[in-house]
């Protein structure tokens, strides 16, 4: 469970004399649903909100607690508890090959290199990536990279997965495959998306606009609200 209490993110103006920029304004939320989608226009604050959830970004006012840990003072525990998936999986993969990348994640909980190699291979095979274990990450397709990134994040055994537009860079087939994989994850999943089909997979949808939550609730209603607001202000 994630709780945001009176959270604001304000950054100083880039030029002197300008007003400070408010990226997120006084957000209070309790996120308990199994599948939560976040939608909103480009620049509305979706990424800022998601980054708060695992302490990648800290609030300038208010507090964020993930799984009972405060993101500001207990960042390390928070990041073990909450895994983060980026839009661009190539930036997320730290090592040269999938097996090495998963092994790196396993260092925190498995002793001995051989044990880690075996477990990494098992986890990759579980996702149908066994054949790619020793390929260069640069030779994988976008969909394969995103699945490797997911495997690496899951290897830490987080309780919550936060994903920032995970399907945006994927083609239709890979998007469908990732949706399917996501649907089967036992973890709580909080994701942003521009794809209304993906958003409708959620049990709760938040609509962000100008750093505020402007709609929150049933996916169908929230998506309708968003589509109507976009049509009025093209």
């Amino acid at each position: 469970m994630i709780h945001l209490d009176g959270v604001s993110v304000v950054v100083p103006a880039s030029r002197r004399g300008d007003a400070d920029r408010t990226l997120l304004a006084d957000v209070t939320l309790t996120l308990t649903e199994h599948r939560i989608g976040i939608i909103g226009a480009n620049g509305s604050g979706k990424s800022t909100l998601l980054r708060l959830l695992n302490g990648l970004r800290l609030p300038t006012a208010g507090t964020v607690t993930s799984g009972g840990f405060d993101t500001a003072s207990q960042g390390r525990q928070v990041r073990t508890h909450v895994g983060f998936i980026f839009t661009d999986p190539l930036a997320q993969l730290v090592m040269s090959t999938p097996i090495e990348d998963v092994e790196l994640s396993l260092r925190s909980r498995i002793k001995g290199r051989e044990n880690r190699t075996r477990e990494a291979l098992r986890l990759l095979e579980e996702r149908g990536l066994g054949k790619l274990a020793h390929q260069s990450i640069h030779d994988l397709s976008g969909g394969e990279r995103q699945l490797v990134a997911l495997t690496s994040v899951l290897a830490v055994e987080p309780k919550i997965i936060v994903a920032d537009e995970p399907t945006t860079l994927l083609d239709l087939r890979n998007r469908l495959a990732l949706r399917d994989t996501f649907a089967r994850l036992p973890q709580q999943l909080i994701f942003s998306t521009h794809d209304m089909d993906v958003a409708s997979d959620a049990t709760r949808v938040l609509v962000v606009d100008g750093g505020r939550i402007v709609a929150d609730g049933d996916p169908a209603a929230a998506i309708r609200f968003y589509e109507r607001s976009m049509a009025m202000t093209p």
Binding site: N54, L56, G75, R76, R79, T80, F84, F86, D88, L90, A91, Q92, L93, V94, M95, S96, T97, I99, E100, E103, L104, S105, R107, S108, K111, G112, R113, R116, T117, H134, S136, I137, H138, D139, S152, V153, V156
Partner: protein, 209 residues
């Protein structure tokens, strides 16, 4: 993917003798190949080390094509070096300078083609740990080396992309047009990589067992 993108290559499992050699010995073997030609600056030493390094790779079941797949960028640097020294009427340098660079790259590939990166990292951590009192964080150095190995193909790829983009606009010869996107791309990539490290909690806990 870009054919040039692999100066250091990457590990694929194999069963040749280099694959089975302890990583520490491989480091020493690499140094034994790289240092003498640099110190001697004689064509015979360069040639001997070049032949030896290639022999080591070939007898470990790495075929010539894979051993020499350094990408066009590396090969054009070697060629440029050779031509430069030929033009300055230094035929020995025309062989020794690029030859020594080639030995260094091939010797490094003896490690990177036959050793998983985690193993290279652990060995580095082990070697650097005594330097802790001097303020050397062995884990961070090992992680930095791993990041470097993984980033080289990406960064070389952006050079290629920038060249294509410049060519598409008929502006091939303008170095600013080539460099600007490459540098901006590198900075953005570094930023995203840093963020990914933080998000994954890597660097917050020690690497070694």
């Amino acid at each position: 993917m870009n054919a040039h993108a692999n100066v250091l290559g990457f590990h694929e499992p194999g069963d040749g003798w280099l694959f089975r050699l302890p990583v520490g010995i491989k480091y020493l073997l690499m140094l034994a190949m790289v240092v003498p030609p640099l110190a001697a600056v004689q064509w015979s030493v360069t040639l001997a080390c070049l032949v030896a390094t290639l022999t080591f790779l070939l007898t470990s079941g790495i075929h010539l094509g894979r051993a020499l797949r350094l990408g066009w960028m590396m090969w054009s640097i070697l060629l440029t070096l050779a031509l430069f020294h030929l033009a300055t009427l230094a035929p020995v340098s025309a062989f020794v300078r690029p030859g020594n660079l080639l030995v260094a790259v091939l010797a490094a590939r003896m490690l990177t083609l036959t050793t998983p990166t985690p193993e290279l990292m652990d060995a580095l951590v082990w070697v650097l740990r005594p330097l802790r009192p001097l303020g050397v964080n062995a884990d961070q150095v090992a992680l930095a080396v791993a990041l470097m190995i993984r980033s080289i193909p990406y960064l070389l790829g952006t050079v290629d992309d920038a060249r294509m983009a410049a060519r598409a606009r008929g502006l091939e010869r303008n170095p600013a047009l080539l460099l600007t996107p490459v540098i901006l791309g590198a900075v953005a990539y570094a930023e995203r990589s840093g963020e990914a490290l933080v998000a994954r909690g890597i660097g917050e806990r020690p690497l070694a067992d």
